[in-house]
């Protein structure tokens, strides 16, 4: 039962979010490239640095953080509303009576699914973001294909990829557990359910940003 539920959640979170994640990643990469091209104009910094900057900002910060902030809105509010609705309609009570450990059955599959799938989404976002940087700078003539490729290949640090995945896992855990908690403890009616859903997103976002800061400090010492 738990395994089946985890698979279903992985499908919901992963497949259900891929379009929005890809869309956002393309634009983030594209904008980063254009902005830096503008800033580096007339400077002594070589043009191929654009590829290098896009790659590193995407890996370290943009892909994990922006993706997870967006997913907190999409997946987090969904989790809070789903579990909260079950609480209000006495579904959770009904399961409790059967002897189901509802906290484990309803929450754990979501957390496990998210911790597996969201890092994959972040990985995709990272790749797509770098492609987005290419699309906005090479065909438009800001820099050449060779320069961008050289930039992307320069000064590569595997450690940054490790940081990206640490962030993705931590953020995934935060956004699912915070949202599930909000839904599980909802009281009252549809207004409270709406509030729980909003709070799920707001608290997840705040905690993600806070965790982002802490991880940045801890992992760059």
């Amino acid at each position: 039962m738990y395994w089946k539920e985890t698979m279903r959640q992985m499908n919901d979170i992963g497949v259900g979010s891929i379009i929005i994640v890809v869309l956002i990643a393309v634009f983030i990469g594209a904008v980063t490239a254009v902005q830096f091209a503008y800033q580096l104009q007339d400077s002594f910094v070589p043009a191929y640095y654009i590829g290098y900057i896009v790659r590193d900002t995407t890996i370290i910060e943009l892909a994990p953080t922006i993706t997870c902030l967006v997913l907190a809105g999409k997946v987090g509010s969904n989790i809070a509303a789903e579990i909260g609705g079950m609480r209000q309609k006495e579904h959770i009570d009904a399961m409790e009576i059967m002897g189901v450990n509802t906290a484990a059955y309803l929450v754990l599959p979501k957390i496990i699914a998210a911790v597996i799938v969201i890092p994959l989404l972040v990985g995709i976002a990272c790749f797509v973001g770098i492609m987005g940087g290419y699309l906005s700078s090479v065909p438009t003539g800001l820099i050449t294909d060779a320069e961008y490729t050289r930039g992307v290949r320069s000064f590569f640090e595997e450690y940054y990829v490790f940081m990206m995945f640490v962030k993705a896992i931590v953020f995934a855990y935060i956004l699912t557990s915070v949202s599930a908690y909000q839904g599980y403890h909802v009281k009252g009616g549809s207004i409270e359910l709406g509030q729980a859903s909003t709070q799920a997103v707001v608290y997840s976002d705040i905690l993600i940003l806070l965790a982002d800061y802490l991880i940045a400090i801890l992992l760059t010492q």
């Binding site: 039962m1 309609k89 006495e90 579904h91 009570d93 009904a94 409790e96 009576i97 059967m98 002897g99 189901v100 450990n101």
Partner: protein, 254 residues
Amino acid sequence: MIRAENIFKSFDDTDVLKGISHTFESGKTNLIIGRSGAGKTVMLKILVGLLKPTSGTIWYDDVNYSELNSKQVRQIRMEVGMLFQGSALFDSLSIEENIRFPLDMFTKKTKKEKLDRVNYCLDRVDLNGVNKKYPSEVSGGMQKRVGIARSIVLGPKYLFCDEPNSGLDPKTSIVIDELIRSITQENNITTVINTHDMNSVMEIGENIALLYQGELVWTGNKDDVLNSDNEILQGFIFASPFLQRLRNAALSKG
């Protein structure tokens, strides 16, 4: 057997239950009756442990239910079936999946065995061939019956029904009452039923507890009901002028 000992329950500053002590016997249909708002649902939820009493103790046979840890509680609950006042069917699962849910969670039966058990339970509540429908696609009374089917699917030792008859026509009502009584007797289940349906009281009331404003004011069986001169009980049972006239006529004839 389930025993409630001096149960008090308040929400904020309203006292809903004020010292209820009562024994619910096994193999019998134990009824909790009382007007709307008397505290029946709260009492039932305290008996199953969905609500904590402000004070007082619940005994399941000789186990102090209030002192169990959550794992032990879950152990007992695998032997508990409950029908909620609002049915509480899982609305994104089909009726078959709803009834199969406890089987999926707790048994290692094969697909075929599970389906047979589901169909047996559906048959007992007089619902055949609705397996693939969703709860929102059947009537409220049918949802109730699905709820009953789900609550008996694991063969419970303790069965709780919150208003099993509300929303049912008189005929189906009787079918459901009979069903609950027969599975209670067949399997020696401790069954607790909340109701304000007079027919049920007079048909299956083997051990009745009357709640009035949070207090237990009368206990007895269906035969005692007619002979009792407890005013609250009489006011509750013979609430309509029609029934009062009927009763007075019967009494005056001796």
